[in-house]
């Protein structure tokens, strides 16, 4: 590793405490996905020790870098700080009973097309080209799947794969 890369890495590590300011031992965090895995170690490929559902309140009993050791009743384990929220999620459940677009376990919700009322809005305003553009964008965006984002994170060493 070059000296410059080392310096940058050190500076990024130094910035971690600010990013984690809201998470502290004795504090709480909330799950924000339909399913959140708690791991047996503070590593992305560690075995899953427990699984918790959406909007669960977790008690933080240890902080290690960007990883939190948390507890929800009998469920205990490590979770990457980016996979939990500082505040209880307020997303209202959609018609499928899940939060709108809830994770890759609800891919049909994630790929929701332009709302019909929005499409009608574009028609009424004479914005056919812009409406078509937004629909094209939605198709392109939805083609980038959660699995592809996973692979992107792993190959670029981002998120919990840092």
């Amino acid at each position: 590793m070059s000296r410059k890369a080392l310096v940058i890495s050190a500076l990024m590590l130094a910035a971690v405490p600010a990013a984690l300011a809201a998470f502290a031992v004795g504090g709480t965090a909330f799950t924000k996905r339909v399913k959140t895995d708690l791991l047996s170690d503070s590593k992305p490929f560690a075995p899953v020790s427990a699984e918790v559902g959406y909007s669960r309140k977790l008690r933080i009993d240890q902080v290690r870098g960007m990883w939190l050791h948390v507890q929800d009743g009998p469920n205990v384990g490590w979770v990457f700080s980016g996979n939990v929220a500082e505040e209880k999620p307020t997303d209202t459940k959609g018609m499928d009973g899940l939060p709108i677009g809830a994770s890759k376990t609800s891919a049909t919700a994630a790929a929701r097309p332009l709302a019909p009322a929005a499409e009608q809005y574009g028609d009424r305003k004479g914005l056919a080209q812009a409406t078509s553009d937004v629909m094209w964008l939605e198709g392109q965006s939805d083609a980038v799947t959660p699995d592809q984002v996973d692979e992107f994170l792993k190959s670029n060493q981002k998120g919990e794969f840092q």
Partner: protein
């Protein structure tokens, strides 16, 4: 009593509504169903409404800023970086969409429901993923913290009208006027400075969590400032560059 209270709320909501959008009051309170929807509008904006607003605002943005650049490679890159960031935001469950607008001005926008846009003029100045992530994370923070929805929600009447419109039972002409008013406010005047600084700080935190350089946004802003960007075409809907730079920690530029 509860029904009476709901009706009273609906009537209270309808009065300023009529003043602003000249809606037909009779049509608003005609059925208990519509009254129920209006009371929901008073309480907040639900997911279906958010997607309807977001889609409508996204169409307006695309229309005003040169359309969407239909380049699959660019769009894929923006979506990979954007969705990586959004995964660690406080609202990972939104159907996030990231696109590049054809305009050569330097700006970025977001709309409720997970729509994020940057202009071609800005995209072309962002070399690294760190710089791109910095801009996208700022906009993601606006959406995640519902900054636009908070402005909309302040107008109780509009919330009610919007809810009705999403069910095709509203005065659509007035709904359109309301959306137009909102987009004009959001994308010509912009958010208030404090909201922008909050998005700068929140975006920096999101970038760090995701693993991008802490100094990405500061670097982008300093680059634009060094180029002597015309305030009319460079982040014209945001506070002055120097003010934003001053409020960010003095992180080094990305590698």
């Amino acid at each position: 009593m509860r029904r009476l209270a709901v009706l009273s709320l609906a009537l209270l909501a309808a009065v300023p509504a009529q003043a602003q959008f000249s809606l037909n009051l009779d049509s608003l309170v005609n059925t208990a169903k519509d009254v129920g929807k209006m009371s929901k509008g008073l309480a907040g904006i639900g997911p279906e409404e958010e997607l309807t607003i977001g889609g409508s605002v996204a169409i307006e943005i695309a229309s005003r800023y040169g359309g969407i650049v239909r380049d699959e490679a660019i769009t894929r890159r923006v979506n990979l970086v954007g969705k990586a960031l959004a995964r660690y935001s406080s609202r990972p469950n939104l159907p996030w969409r990231f696109g590049v607008l054809g305009s050569q001005t330097v700006n970025a926008f977001s709309a409720p429901g997970g729509y994020v846009f940057i202009t071609r003029g800005l995209y072309d100045t962002l070399g690294s993923d760190d710089a791109l992530a910095a801009v996208l994370s700022h906009e993601i923070t606006h959406v995640a913290r519902r900054h636009a929805l908070k402005i909309i929600a302040r107008n109780d009447f509009f919330s009610g009208a919007m809810d009705l419109a999403s069910q095709r039972s509203a005065d659509l002409q007035k709904f359109d006027a309301g959306i137009d008013q909102i987009t004009t406010t959001l994308f010509e005047k912009g958010f208030d400075p404090q909201t922008e600084y909050e998005a700068d700080g929140g975006g920096r935190g999101l970038a760090i969590t995701t693993g991008y350089a802490p100094g990405g946004l500061r670097f982008v802003l300093m680059q634009l400032q060094a180029r002597g960007g015309d305030p009319q075409t460079t982040f014209s809907t945001h506070p002055p560059l120097q003010e934003r730079i001053n409020r960010l920690p003095a992180d080094p530029p990305p590698p």
